[in-house]
Symmetry: C2
């Protein structure tokens, strides 16, 4: 049997070619006792303890290029969903993966990306419990998109969310912002620039887990699409409170800052794929920062702002007392970087 | 504020436009207590009883055209996942929806499809617990794709699957095959034909539920992509048994047969979106058919074949004793009909 080295429409028709592709690439890398290729649905073995409940999340991944410094679409697919569950206080247990493949996609690329997805899933302790592939005619998909959903376990009683936020609370970020966005933009090579900036694509579960027992923890988010600015605007809208951001305290790598200045992007709007924004009671801020800084991915954690009741904007304040509003993202057509 | 009437790239950037789109279309139609638009993940309220367990499934939906007689991509998205869970013995409770939207998609079309998805979800008793939208540049998506996953509840102890199948078992189908495939192909208008054939898109849960208590129930599948022939080949491969199909007993509507003859398609390979193939012990076949025929969607249910140990092929046998093998689907590039 000759093996074609690109995806063909026959790989999506339900027949032999499709089965061979699923076996050769998806099942080989992702196989586990839950993922029964003949079944329409996986049966999950878990029993929930009385103090546990389920959480579920969903994320589409369309990054271009498929591989970039520090990651690829497979890693991103796993981390995106693991992280959405983590900031909701849950530990991901199972993923489902919908793969949309373009006719003509190289099988070597697919193999590389699925192997990377499998490696990231193993590292995060999650199993791919169900999957599906669809093949789109050439030109109706940009190589490969993933639609991922995640199922996690969380403590049943957990007061976490925007309704817990109060004026005076502290805004923390676990590390530098903008790395992922800049790494992917440079990898697109659309600007004639190159650099050694890597995506921060990683599981944030260690960062969220260490904060969960903290009494003053109010809210956590991973600032992906729309970046830090967008998370803060969502908090502003949900709480009716304002946010005073101390501009110089926001950790941003020098390289990220330089590239953004050259290209006219603001790193506060660029996606991170391995950072957490947490809002904690003021008296818990020091302890939360200590816990984060003890972790490899939290060494640059910083307190960057405060919730305030005297206005309802997101204000950037610099060391000289200058203030400017951080506006909500509107029409900016950012490239597909997450 | 002017409302543009098509999707723009800004609808995917994480900012105000995207939030407005999600509120105006997705949350308005799909809103429920689980779907908190600000959250990264939904918390599910269920506690599982001791005799219950979870099932999970996943399905990508890329049908073109988006709307066709008897359904649309929104209905199909719900039924595809509800049905995958149903044939695994589970009742769907929650869906997650990843929407991939093409720049330039009409908002009226999106609205229509999401409203239809919401209506189908309500009718099936499922809630959309999490969702995500990504906007792709014009030309990199064909209007709209959905990646759907489902979480269902099943009885914890349920012997259902290919390993339960024995020689002598009966193959049943719940209704006519090929309707969905032909309805969508005609709606594509690529053939200069039109007809009154409607998609069979529907929840099969009533059909699966009525069989679950039956002692002789071995296996259920919904014959979607690749059709009845592909399900039977999967059974053949998983069991090592052959299947003797009685050609004249396979229910196929006259209109479906005519269109297939004209266009050179075999209805046994065309997808159904509201049918079940069940394998039951021979002595349970009459009772299973009675139960199906008592339901509105099961009136044309038929026993169409038998599992045999004397060969390992899928053989079509006609009333005159003629035999021909039903081959496995290989290269046929069917249009996107599911």
């Amino acid at each position: 049997m000759t093996t074609p080295d690109t995806i063909t429409l026959a790989h999506g028709n339900g027949g032999r070619r499709m089965r061979e592709l699923i076996d050769a690439v998806f099942v080989r890398h992702l196989g586990n006792p839950c993922l029964a290729p003949l079944a329409d649905a996986a049966w999950l073995p878990d029993r929930l303890a009385d103090d546990e409940a389920l959480a579920v999340s969903s994320d589409g991944v369309t990054v271009q290029p498929l591989c970039f410094p520090g990651g690829d679409i497979g890693r991103l697919a796993v981390h995106g969903t693991v992280n959405d569950l983590a900031v909701a206080g849950a530990t991901a247990r199972y993923l489902t993966v919908n793969a949309f493949l373009e006719e003509g996609l190289s099988l070597a690329t697919l193999e590389r990306v699925v192997a990377s997805l499998a490696e990231a899933a193993r590292a995060c302790g999650v199993q791919v419990a169900a999957g599906d592939t669809k093949v789109l005619p050439r030109g109706l998909c940009d190589g490969l998109y993933f639609g991922v959903s995640g199922i996690g376990i969380r403590p049943r009683h957990l007061a976490l969310g925007p309704s817990a936020i109060r004026a005076g609370d502290a805004v923390l970020v676990s590390g530098p912002v903008g790395d992922h966005g800049v790494a992917v933009m440079l990898a697109r090579e659309a600007f004639g620039l190159s650099g050694d900036i890597e995506s921060d694509s990683a599981s944030v579960l260690p960062l969220t887990r260490t904060l969960l027992p903290l009494a003053g923890l109010r809210f956590m988010r991973d600032p992906t699409r729309g970046g830090l600015a967008t998370v803060l605007h969502e908090v502003r809208r949900a709480t009716g409170l304002g946010i005073r951001l101390e501009e110089e305290r926001i950790p941003i790598r020098g390289g990220v800052r330089s590239v953004c200045e050259m290209l006219g992007f603001d790193p506060l709007y660029l996606p991170c794929e391995g950072r957490v924004v947490a809002i904690v009671a003021a008296e818990a801020a020091a302890e939360a920062l200590d816990r984060w800084r003890a972790l490899p991915k939290g060494r640059s954690a910083a307190r960057i702002g405060t919730l305030v009741a005297d206005h309802d904007r997101v204000l950037l304040v610099n060391d000289w007392g200058g203030e400017r509003p951080l506006l909500e993202l509107e029409d900016d057509p950012l490239p597909r970087i997450c």
